[in-house]
């Protein structure tokens, strides 16, 4: 039946889309791990007064930490999108899928 075929196509596409985000989460995990190698010693900034080098490091460190926080949260978020799409897949059928209004079941509040 055409209706059932369409449901299958959409449900398969939702699983493919979910898988895409799982892979993106893995890629982001790799980025996150790489960021931990980007720390710098104060000596790297040294040239002239030591206070200047320390000042540069004090600007670099929180920026590095924030980028790492973003990568960590992105990795988790992508995995959550993967799970949300799998929920959308599980709940989906041609009629209810189109009319469902309880989005919180899929995405939360």
């Amino acid at each position: 039946m055409a209706g059932n075929d369409e449901v299958k196509i959409v449900r398969d596409a939702l699983l493919d889309e979910a898988e895409k985000w799982r892979k993106l989460s893995l890629d982001m995990a790799e980025v996150k791990n790489g960021i931990s190698d980007l720390a710098l010693y104060v000596t790297a900034f040294f040239c002239g007064p030591i206070a200047t080098a320390q000042m540069a490091k004090n600007a670099y460190d929180p920026t590095l930490a924030l980028v790492q926080k973003h990568a960590t949260e992105a990795e988790q978020e992508f995995l959550q999108i993967n799970e949300a799409l799998k929920r959308a897949h599980d709940d989906y059928d041609a009629v209810e899928g189109k009319n469902a209004t309880d989005l919180s079941k899929i995405y939360g509040n």
């Binding site: 959409v10 493919d16 889309e17 710098l40 000042m55 924030l66 995405y107």
Partner: protein, 261 residues
């Protein structure tokens, strides 16, 4: 879309840093060589002075001895000042070695963050084929929320590029600092070389060394002044602090939440 690759700028900063340390290292070698030439020339003049001083009798020998003593003291003073400053130059060059890690990390920001995160942008933005058959509120909510994720991905890739630039700028600032700090060193080799001819004569040694000593001391003083205040370096670094803060501001406190379950 993520910003373009910034490896050209990092390469340029790396070249500047290498050039700066190489130039200063070469000048240091030149000053050292010219100093040795000057010492040899003065020693030659003074040894010929003692060969001829007997002609004037006892008085002449005494005058020659006194003159040689003055020349010797001046030469020793110049030698010590120059050797001391060359030690300082070497210390700064040694301390400048770790600065190259700014360049290494700048490349790492491009390769570890900017390029791979930038590559995620299109993948995240483009829906799997057949997903356009999906319809309804869940689909609409998804279509509305994905661009926010894509924007955050682009922002993170952009931060990677900006931090690469930030580090390479810092390395370039240090290169400029090394060159400006030791600019007087570039004159010093010439000043000492200019004194060699006259200092190698009995009649001209004292005057030539006196003049050379003054010029060398002026150059040395300006290096010490540069070391002490470091104002330009401080200002350049403070300006860069603002850029790091800007990157943090652009990123925001955390990643946008599309799903909260």
């Amino acid at each position: 879309m993520p910003p373009p690759d910034g490896s050209g700028q990092v390469n340029e900063s790396e070249a500047q840093l290498k050039k700066a340390t190489q130039q200063v290292g070469e000048q240091k070698g030149k000053v050292h060589d010219e100093l040795n030439r000057l010492i040899d020339a003065v020693n030659g003049a003074m040894s010929s002075l003692s060969d001829w001083s007997w002609i004037g009798g006892l008085g002449g020998m005494y005058a020659a001895h006194k003159y040689a003593g003055k020349v010797h003291d001046l030469m020793e003073k110049i030698k010590k000042s120059v050797e001391d400053i060359l030690k300082v130059v070497q210390e700064i060059l040694d301390k400048g070695v770790p600065v190259i890690s700014l360049i290494n990390k700048a490349f790492a920001w491009l390769n570890t963050v900017q390029a791979p995160v930038g590559a995620m942008s299109d993948t995240a933005a483009q829906f799997t084929s057949n997903l356009n058959n999906w319809d309804g509120p869940a689909q609409r909510a998804y279509a509305q929320r994905v661009p926010i994720q894509v924007k955050a991905i682009d922002g993170l890739a952009g931060a990677g590029g900006e931090l690469a630039t930030w580090l390479s700028d810092m390395a370039a600032t240090n290169a400029a600092y090394i060159v400006s700090l030791f600019k007087p060193l570039f004159d010093m080799a010439g000043v000492i070389a200019a004194a060699v001819v006259d200092a190698g004569t009995i009649a001209g040694a004292l005057e030539a060394l006196g003049k050379c000593g003054e010029l060398v001391q002026t150059a040395i003083n300006s290096i010490y002044e540069g070391l002490e205040n470091g104002v330009n370096q401080m200002t350049a670094t403070i300006n860069k602090m603002v850029d790091a803060k800007k990157v943090r501001g652009e990123l925001g406190d955390g990643w946008p939440q599309m799903v909260t379950l």
